[in-house]
Symmetry: C3
Subunit: 353 residues, 3 copies
């Protein structure tokens, strides 16, 4: 009998603390990805849309959108990390490194940095530290995520619990602000908003107003583009018999829609420096209309630069719930059912200097 | 209380005659846009599909499809001009300039050239002259359109009425026929039709036969690709409660489908020189099947060229109404409900010389 | 009355044995096509996804996916060959030649090599030998297909029957193995599977496990991308009154999904050398979920090469029928209704040497 040739993905008991995984399928980012990302999200940020705008601030040309780079890297990890996942639980210390450009190739690697079997012995949480590098070996993105993964065999031995200590947010000293960035010719009229870092206040809440309705084809095409092959996004034949009866939308697609919607109010947030944390609070399905709002959690000065500051933001996305009233967790931490995403991230923005 | 950061768009009373607007988000056109445009419209015109065909007629490579260039430019204007529009009423004197190529960046600017408040004081018509230029400052497209825009406040003062005089069609002396065009090696077999300028007669009607059914994902992806963020195209949650109950399809997408369908009968119309006028007669929605027919309004000789002529065309698109009987306006100018588009434009076509 | 300008396509009686057709619309393949192909199929093969992986095995950069090249070529032939087809019956002796790269332009030509009118005189089978070449005149793909085409006039004379003799499979001596291929640095970990040619056995069956649900927008966008304008894929207004009541999905899209699904079990099948035969056994429609399985029919040594071997495969795709039990034809050759595709093709795979 020949060896089975298919990849069942890893179950919880297959992971070992310290295990290093080189993910398959290096991926060259192209202008095709750029166009498809704009087409699937409606993102209007000027920097990834325009070579001339990018050149006006010192870059060689339009970089790949930060979240597109995130998805291309994340996509490589799925076959090894989350094929048998029940839920994607969270993210931490996500650091964006050098910009990714069309023509660059991503390779992704991960290391298992934590394991915690659940008391029902049917699942366990796997913590991975993933790094996406370009063909020159430079770090494009470095992050930790944790997922609840099924066990193949309930009776397989329970590994020693190890839960990594993870800071709540990336420290400013760790932000990578590309050295070549020079914002002296940054044109906020072309960027789409007169509001710079100086104009935002801690505690300020911004309703991004617009809504984007999800379609099956859109989320599937995005997820396939990223070569993320998690079955729950694609197979209505099985999902129709599953717990939701619907194909589950890749949470990363919701992150991208929230970021695209946030252009309305945060147009000058030209780059994501860090993803500090994120929860896919409730699932999203085709037919849902995504709305979003943001709160400024911190204003951060960048040492050595008076032209760029950072804003730590919380962006919440909802389904079918416009955000004029800023829906979010109550004092006990319980979220309304309409909240689908709570993302804590840090963006770079021009300062008046 | 911090300053609101979102852009509510302009209401009728925000516009001033002579006002100049530099639209945000310069946009580099890429081969990604080229592929997505073919994928979303099915366009088969040889010139934007093929570097070798383009080079055979003197161009450096395949130019961006004229209508794709139109949409990329139009998309930039929406946030300032038509975010609060009730209806896109018309177009005039649309002139295509230098070809746009992959790698070129579009910047768009508009000037308000007319204002006319409606008698109900709830809306008004805004006339804008918009110009899209490439990174070298060359004009790619120059056109006028007018939209019915909501008033924020019924009681805001009524501006002096100014309705610009607009010619019914662009004069041949204004056509831009790229100087490098040399049709001596134009291969009509490769172009897809043996019929050249000489073979068309004024008054001739052409039923383009084929139909294309609209899907939500398709029109939304096209409209997002153009970074046109008009809410009515995207938000089923609100549109479901609105006057149509459906997401309204961007009229420009219907223009593109009509042009793509017109390949069958007008395959050698290799370039659009001008858009003389256009009416989105009735709205289109997902599930509608678009058909089209054209009438030759004029045959125009190009001074100084015996190898290229122009045809002024009327193309009518319908929903769920095949065009063998050439549905169009009756003698009073009333259209059948099935007509969704009446477009008056001028194309360039090879002449036998 | 002016000459009708539209192209009705050819009917059975319009074809002549030996007729040569130069298909319209040369097509430049771009990175936009690459991204859209990944987005529409979820294909994860490393070679077309990654410049660096391609360079590691001696190629200049990531080649266009073999099946994407197939569709781009096939798309050009439709307007002349199958616009009036009732069914696409089969393929044979499909040979992949030089790799196609982004920036290359395809031109397609066909020759009629067989004709056989059906006894009802309403249709007939047309056999065509089609060749797609790049701008340097090199053969990218060379294949035979046959289609059942409608007659315009039942009483038109019946041509002499000529059915070409076609081998069941392309001979190994005819495989084109690009000379520049050097697999000494082929990294199977990056390719996604440890299983090389040596590890597969004749008769081995592989269930590819995953399912992909079809959406109207997805199949239409793929088919439009290929500039395949066969009406049955696009027009719900007419198809709704037709024999299926639905838009028929282009069989080639099912081939692509089957190939993408086959990555799970055949990840190292880095190139398709030949398409020996194929049957679109039953039609597919939006809402169907495609599954696939493969059987190794032959292991073929490549003369002069110890680093690459070939596997002749049968891949069967089904709708809504997971393939653990390997559904296929019974001893009489009758297929279950769930089978939509039976494809016989030969792939290249690394050998241990």
């Amino acid at each position: 009998m020949p060896t089975p040739k298919t990849n069942p993905g890893n179950f919880f008991e297959d992971f070992r603390l310290g295990q290093e995984i080189l993910h398959a399928v290096p991926r060259t980012a192209t202008e095709g990805d750029v166009a498809l990302y704009i087409g699937l999200t409606g993102s209007r940020f000027a920097l990834p849309s325009s070579d001339s705008f990018a050149q006006s601030i010192g870059l060689a040309g339009a970089p790949i959108d930060d979240l597109l780079a995130f998805h291309l890297i994340f996509g490589r990890t799925v076959a090894d990390i989350s094929l048998n996942a029940v839920a994607n639980l969270g993210y931490a210390v996500g650091k964006f490194g050098v910009p990714l450009y069309p023509g660059d190739t991503i390779i992704a690697q991960s290391k298992v940095i934590g394991l915690k079997e659940n008391s029902n012995h049917e699942t366990g949480i796997v913590y991975v530290h993933s790094v996406g590098r370009n063909q020159a070996g430079e770090v494009v993105l470095d992050y930790v995520r944790w997922v609840m993964v099924k066990k193949r065999d309930k009776h397989a031995p329970t590994p020693e619990t190890h839960v990594p200590q993870l800071p709540a947010a990336l420290d400013v000293g760790e932000f990578e602000v590309p050295a070549e960035l020079d914002l002296s010719n940054y044109d906020d009229e072309l960027a789409g908003s007169p509001f710079l870092w100086d104009d935002y206040a801690v505690g300020e809440k911004i309703d991004h107003v617009d809504g984007m309705t999800l379609e099956e084809s859109d989320h599937m095409t995005a997820t396939r583009l990223y070569q993320n092959n998690a079955k729950v996004h694609f197979n209505q034949h099985t999902e129709g018999q599953g717990r939701f009866g619907r194909r589950l939308i890749y949470g990363g697609h919701i992150i991208s829609l929230a970021r695209a919607l946030s252009f309305n109010g945060l147009a000058n947030a030209f780059r994501i420096a860090a993803i500090n944390g994120g929860r896919h609070v409730n699932p999203s399905f085709a037919g849902d209309t995504i709305y979003a709002w943001s709160e400024v959690l911190e204003k951060i000065e960048i040492p050595g630069r008076k032209d760029i500051g950072a804003l730590r933001l919380k962006t919440i996305a909802t389904k079918d719930d416009p955000c004029a009233a800023f829906p979010g967790p109550d004092s006990t931490g319980k979220y309304p059912e309409s909240v689908v995403l709570d993302l804590d991230y840090t963006v770079l923005m021009k300062r008046r200097g």
